[in-house]
Symmetry: C2
Subunit: 336 residues, 2 copies
């Protein structure tokens, strides 16, 4: 029986093995992924991102428990682009495991950076496909931070949930158009903090500003007027769909607000289905993925044909500033 | 006179124009970059990264003022991978401008994400080359956050300065091996905060753990023992060079500790020169850059030859899960 068939039949050890094969780009992994691919497309893919200190992992735990109590199975992919090693991811994993271990309806996989960010985003996409094919109802893709890496990884999700914590927006730099752009649902965690209401108000003001689509506005931030520049067509897709980003207060420790988050997730998925948004997001992901795979394959094919010592000599000439990198690229392409 | 010659002669408006040309990947920009390239390699490239809220921008201002008072010219490239638009970057820029505007020995350029993270890292590298060729003594590459994107951008620097603030390490997730891996100098800003000493102690413990190079250890974090997994050869380059990462407390508002930061920057540069580290870092950057340019050029060449409607049809077959992306890649490569 093939590894993919075993996975489709619910074999958990086969699932772990298959994910490892996919992560390691082994030929077995590629074959199994191709076999699973027709079975994908059923799961709700939810990206969850937020800075360290927002209580994001506790929130993921609570969301998972709430989904489980509704009879849904949950796959969790915890991605840590901050750590080039598995240290951070393993750490988070152990803490999480205490609540969720032993539940056969939950599968958790931690991933750390493998060489490059592009590699991580692609490996994440493949692991998500495996879990989707394996039949998990909801797949939570958890990433730490709020950089472009998280935006890239979140782009594999149908619904992106951005977690903020009270007081995290006290710095002018923290008023980021970018992170609001990718959010389908905003969660202000640690709602027992007295500053929570203020954070919600600030986020609401930023969202309204965003939705108004005007070139430049002033927003009152802690009583201080600051200039905020917004591009006129910042989020055409969100505008198309007319989705009002909800802001939900939660307390991941007590579980307060979690039910509302689950309801918002369901509502957003229905909204995407009704508007063709699911297919639009998928098409964009497919194009990105083909581009990345093509570049990689073409580069590998070219480098196979180039003599190693010739390449080293060219690199040395760039290091000594005799050649620009672009010149080397042209020489390699013309010579191949 | 060519744009590059004007830049070499100190024309500021030409410098702005050239940077725009380079950012926009115009043929003029590529030609000018090739002309400037032999003049690069003199500047000290300093990456400065840290989460929002650490006071990183104020610190960059203070470092710039201190370098200026020592007669050095400073180029600042402020990169914001968080924002897909220029909003955030422009905001930071205005605040910064108040202190530094009007000084002909300072040149500031803000950059936001252009399409992809890879594109941003490459554009940043090119802008840094232009400023290097234009003769700036020190180039500060400022990025926000602590994700892989910042690691990628920081990899273009000779010296990486990571800024932390007191209390930011209170979350278990914030104990990141990754961010310590890339730091050549750690700065704990806001040294007037009573928690500063505790943050310095925690960072020192993490660094010692790292330097010990052992597989797994326990570190006391706020009285709680947590497992931290460290790879045995986490930072071979740092180990090779035997550089002890200094932790410097600063108060960017009062300027306290800034002189020590400048001294640490100088010391690190001398250290790299004495150990061949500068050349080693440059060679790694050159290889990364050639890889990225090659992939891009090869992809563009292939897509030129592929019929648009044929490509669209293939994408649709992946969207409907009839084909895996990998199969499309093979068809495109074989058919080309």
């Amino acid at each position: 029986m093939s590894l993919a068939t075993e996975v489709l039949e619910g074999n958990r050890r086969a699932l772990s093995r298959l994910i490892s094969a996919v992560e390691n780009h082994s030929p077995d992994g590629a074959a199994a992924l191709a076999e699973l691919y027709p079975h994908t497309g059923r799961a709700h893919l939810v990206g969850i991102t937020g800075s360290p200190g927002t209580g994001k992992s506790s929130l993921v735990n609570q969301i998972t428990l709430a989904l489980r109590s509704r009879g849904k199975t949950v796959g969790i992919v915890a991605v840590d682009p901050t750590s080039p090693f598995s240290g951070g991811a393993i750490l988070g994993d152990r803490i999480r495991m205490r609540d969720l271990s032993g539940d056969p309806g939950v599968f958790i996989r931690s991933m750390a950076t493998r060489g490059s960010l592009g590699g991580l985003a692609r490996a994440t996409a493949d692991v998500v496909k495996v879990l989707d094919g394996a039949g998990f109802d909801t797949i939570l893709i958890e990433t730490v931070g709020a950089g472009q890496s998280e935006v890239d990884i979140a782009s594999h999700a149908h619904t992106v949930l951005v977690v903020e914590a009270p007081g995290m927006g006290d710095d002018v730099q923290a008023i980021k158009a970018g992170i609001l752009e990718i959010a389908d649902i905003l969660v202000v965690n640690k709602s027992d903090d007295p500053r929570a209401q203020n954070t919600i108000r600030t986020l609401r003001a930023m969202l309204d500003l965003n939705a108004s689509g005007q070139g430049q506005k002033k927003v009152s931030h802690h009583g201080q007027l600051v200039d905020v520049v917004m591009p006129p067509d910042a989020s055409p897709e969100q505008d198309d769909l007319r989705w009002d980003v909800p802001i939900q207060a939660t307390d991941a420790l007590s579980g307060e607000g979690i039910d509302d988050v689950i309801e918002a997730l369901d509502r957003h998925r229905t909204h995407l289905q009704d508007n063709g948004g699911l297919k639009r997001r998928l098409r964009k992901q497919v194009i990105t993925e083909i581009d990345a795979l093509l570049s990689e394959a073409l580069l590998a094919r070219l480098l196979e044909r180039v003599d190693r010592s010739h390449l080293d000599a060219l690199v040395e000439r760039v290091v000594s500033r005799e050649l620009v990198p672009q010149a080397v690229v042209e020489m390699l392409i013309d010579g191949s």
